[in-house]
Subunit: 543 residues, 2 copies
């Protein structure tokens, strides 16, 4: 019936505890995520490098993309840590398991491990499956036994287990026993609707472990905001297998977030669940996966968010000068993150001093620090933000320290034209007029958008005078409309990240419209790039 031979079953770093990732299956259900096969392969590589023990790749047979993923993953990826897992359902009611094409597709995927979803809530059996509780148990037994007989390692996901247990504990426990008895290695209790709280989870898992003797896993959704805590509560109660997704991606609110779960287990429980050294890659892996799924990394995510170790409170900033550990729960380097001081008018002098020190400026002059704080406040009122624009802050700081502009060129005027012709094609053209080294330059550029055209015109105008600009690239570009509240007009803030191959820097522009704001951020970006290249500013670029 099935021809594909299974790969060897590969164990997690230690099989005693399973870190099971379902980003590619459950995570992909998140609103706004839409993964190609290439995306899935890239994420699988990141997860394997990070060291999870199991990667659930999708539902082969139910979805052509998932079928293709399994074929290509087996051919293209040499997994170092993870075993590939196919997800599927128990056989259909009233059908012989050997005749169920969905079950055959699981074997055909060649994945060494299969997770089977089984109903464990009586109401779901009756309303969604429309069969009897007895047939439901037979479906679990038959399918597990069939896959085990074909050499697969089988985990059973008991869907809606907690709601089911609270409604009809005896059927819920029967499902666990049926799966365990038929040879499933792990029976996973799923809080599918995500409504549980840790105390409930702990009590139920404890009972199931005691009553069934099965090896228990936990799959938590975050609808109550407790998925990480629920996962840890299950571990406290005896679960030795946790199902998570990178960055907590998943349907509705999301799943238990892999990163705080493994960090808590390793750093707070002292339990090794990843290969040595993996944890310090966590921030990078989190951001890399966010890139692939094309969502901005969540700035306030525990452990790995860019804000996770960022301080702006004046009170805290003074204490941090004494000892950074006073205000952080772990050393951020343990998870590959780092402490940052934020420049904000709430922070006041202490954080400007710390930030200046971070950038290598001696800010012992109190009056100077006061002037910097004043300028920051004044510009923040207009919509600027320096928290995410280090290079613009450093330019502000330099101009205050040196009491004058730190520029290389003077921009006189510019124009951007975007044209959609009757045949639908769009043209973007920009012209700039600027001064550099006493010379007036007129330059023009075309691009795929007005800002891109302006950028090219600016480069065309500057590159003869400053060949160093050739190395500088725009890496990222973000637009934010600042809502006009209290009757004020809305303004636009642009953040640009630039790089020269060795480092990156961010600049900010704020104006009534996106092109003018981009222009300011570009001006800062190239000015900072030329400073980084070692050039000395020109006090009078107009000669």
């Amino acid at each position: 019936m099935t021809k594909a031979a299974p790969d060897t079953v590969k164990d997690a770093p230690s099989d005693a505890f399973h870190v099971f990732d379902t980003t590619l299956r459950d995570g992909a259900q998140r609103e706004g995520i839409n993964l190609t096969v290439a995306d899935k392969l890239t994420i699988a590589r990141h997860l394997d490098d990070f060291g999870v023990g199991f990667i659930e790749g999708g539902w082969p047979g139910a979805n052509p993309r998932d079928t293709e993923f399994f074929a290509r993953a087996r051919a293209e990826i040499a997994f170092r840590n993870a075993a590939l897992v196919a997800f599927g359902a128990t056989r259909r009611a009233g059908v012989d398991v050997a005749d169920d094409p969905q079950v055959a597709a699981l074997l055909d995927s060649g994945a060494p491990v299969v997770t089977l979803v089984a109903k464990s809530h009586d109401r779901h059996v009756e309303l969604a499956l429309r069969t009897t509780l007895e047939e439901n148990l037979a479906m679990v037994r038959d399918t597990v036994a069939h896959l085990v007989a074909h050499g697969r390692r089988v985990f059973v996901d008991c869907e809606h287990f907690f709601d089911g247990y609270l409604a009809n504990p005896s059927h819920a426990l029967d499902v666990v026993r049926a799966a365990h008895g038929a040879g499933a290695d792990v029976v996973v209790l799923c809080d599918t609707n995500g409504g549980m709280l840790p105390a409930q989870v702990q009590a139920v898992v404890r009972t199931v472990v005691a009553d069934t003797g099965a090896r228990i896993g936990m799959h938590a959704q975050d609808d109550s905001g407790c998925a990480v805590a629920n996962t840890l509560a299950a571990v406290d109660a005896g679960a030795t297998h946790v199902q998570c997704t990178a960055n907590g991606y998943g349907e509705r609110v999301g799943n238990a977030n892999l990163f705080p779960v493994v960090a808590a287990l390793e750093l707070k429980y002292g339990r090794r669940v990843l290969p040595p050294g993996a944890l310090t890659e966590m921030t990078r892996v989190s951001h890399a996966i966010a890139e692939v799924v094309n969502l901005a990394p969540a700035t306030h995510q525990p452990y790995v968010g860019v804000s996770a170790f960022a301080h702006k409170a004046g009170l805290h900033a003074s204490a941090i000068k004494v000892d950074p550990d006073l205000y952080q729960h772990i050393d951020p380097e343990l998870v590959g993150n780092s402490m940052r001081m934020l420049v904000s008018d709430m922070a006041g002098r202490a954080s400007v001093e710390l930030k200046g020190k971070e950038l290598g400026y001696d800010l012992t002059d109190r009056a100077l620090v006061g002037r910097v704080v004043e300028r920051v406040k004044e510009r923040e009122l207009r919509g600027f933000t320096y928290e995410a624009a280090d290079a613009s802050f450093e330019l502000l700081l330099r101009e205050t320290v040196h009491d004058g502009p730190q520029r290389f060129f003077h921009l006189e005027s510019w124009r951007a034209i975007t044209d959609q012709r009757a045949d639908g094609t769009v043209d973007n053209e920009a012209t700039v007029r600027l001064w550099a080294k006493g010379e007036r330059v007129l330059a023009t550029g075309e691009g795929n958008g007005p800002v891109n055209a302006l950028d090219r015109a600016l480069r065309a105008g500057l590159e003869r005078t400053f060949p160093q600009l050739a190395r500088i690239q725009l890496v990222d570009y973000k637009v934010r409309i600042l809502e006009g509240r209290h009757g004020t007009q809305s303004t636009t803030r642009v953040l640009i990240t630039s790089g020269d191959g060795t480092t990156e820097w961010s600049t900010v522009g704020v104006a009534d419209n996106v092109i003018a704001a981009s222009w300011q951020a570009l001006d800062d970006a190239y000015t900072y790039g030329l400073l980084r290249a070692g050039l000395r500013p020109d006090p009078s670029p107009r000669g």
Copy 2:
């Protein structure tokens, strides 16, 4: 020493349990938040309407903005549910409490309740305060007694309580006893660094309640991803006062999120902690506060996120057709949210059918549903998303059902020019060429940005033919750069929300540049608006 008389102390709905909000103090520490006094007053009104018992407004005296806030809040807001709370510190070491200007400012604020922050971790007393443990206890006793003698209700926030308790339980407990003995109504245990896990919190709170007899509160930070669970664990252990922030805003990762905490207490613990009917306002209040702090509402926030009850999985969509309660932990209407079906190529037929039904279309024709799914897939591949663009999806659906364009006008071409003159002023001008009711129209517009100019030119060109457009307004405008991965060029996606005073709708455009993408979304926005106004589409606008 102080002249301001305190307002009467107002109790929470019932004083037996305190919902204490610190959005305006601790929440404002979040990276990216910068509140004006007007913002703080607006948020205080929302929180009071929602029904929290206490609103911590800031630190009067430490910050002129906070001082102004207390003066204006007392004068301008007639609080219905909340008591206003001033935050401050215990007196300085070695200073008589009556001579400490910071303590005087707390009384001057006129707030009926004061939260005092006290050190309870021996290391912090020694390193940050640079004083003895004995003096620390005296500072707590003196300051509490002084404020109580002046008629204030006093809560004491024990900073770093849990870390302190684990390091030196006897000093930590002494601080609780000192505060309680001097007359503090509640002693709040703070997990300031956010590193605790629920099991630890529960054990420590249980001990403190038993050993000190003080009324205990909980203040949790979210650095372990467990702030909501930690708050509930403290309640399980006997705490009757919870400190939270709207949407979990706060320093670093954030604070315990007010909304899932009160929802769990009301819906899962069956404990009334808000005025009757308040919970159904929760989604609106959450989004309104996000607007004021100028952050996009977190789409995946528990209970109140726009995705919190959104379903896209094909498996789930089929089950939801049977009974929506099978896949949601609570009825979303209890918290003022609603279920949504998402249109996505992962979902397939079942969710297109459900979405069509939601929009009032009869989609019993299987071939028709197949064509809709095909068109959605094809456009999603190019970067479109219909999950957040209901109106563009409905236009696509209508065009498929009616097998032809559902338009009122034909756009021939357009041009947008943005000009920054040498004096720094910026001009934006756009021209459009379009056809409506057989007539060719040439129109021009100016605006504060190129898209705004284009919008005005389009309105100018259409309004004579379609006076209904006068009622339609642009409500929101979002730009997203879709990163060019795997060597492809990056594209720009624009989402526009429009309204006619009674309802709102969203449309999407995708193109190489922001102006062309905006143009598509505007085209859909006005077309949909005219359909809503009851007009019949024109099969040949060019005559």
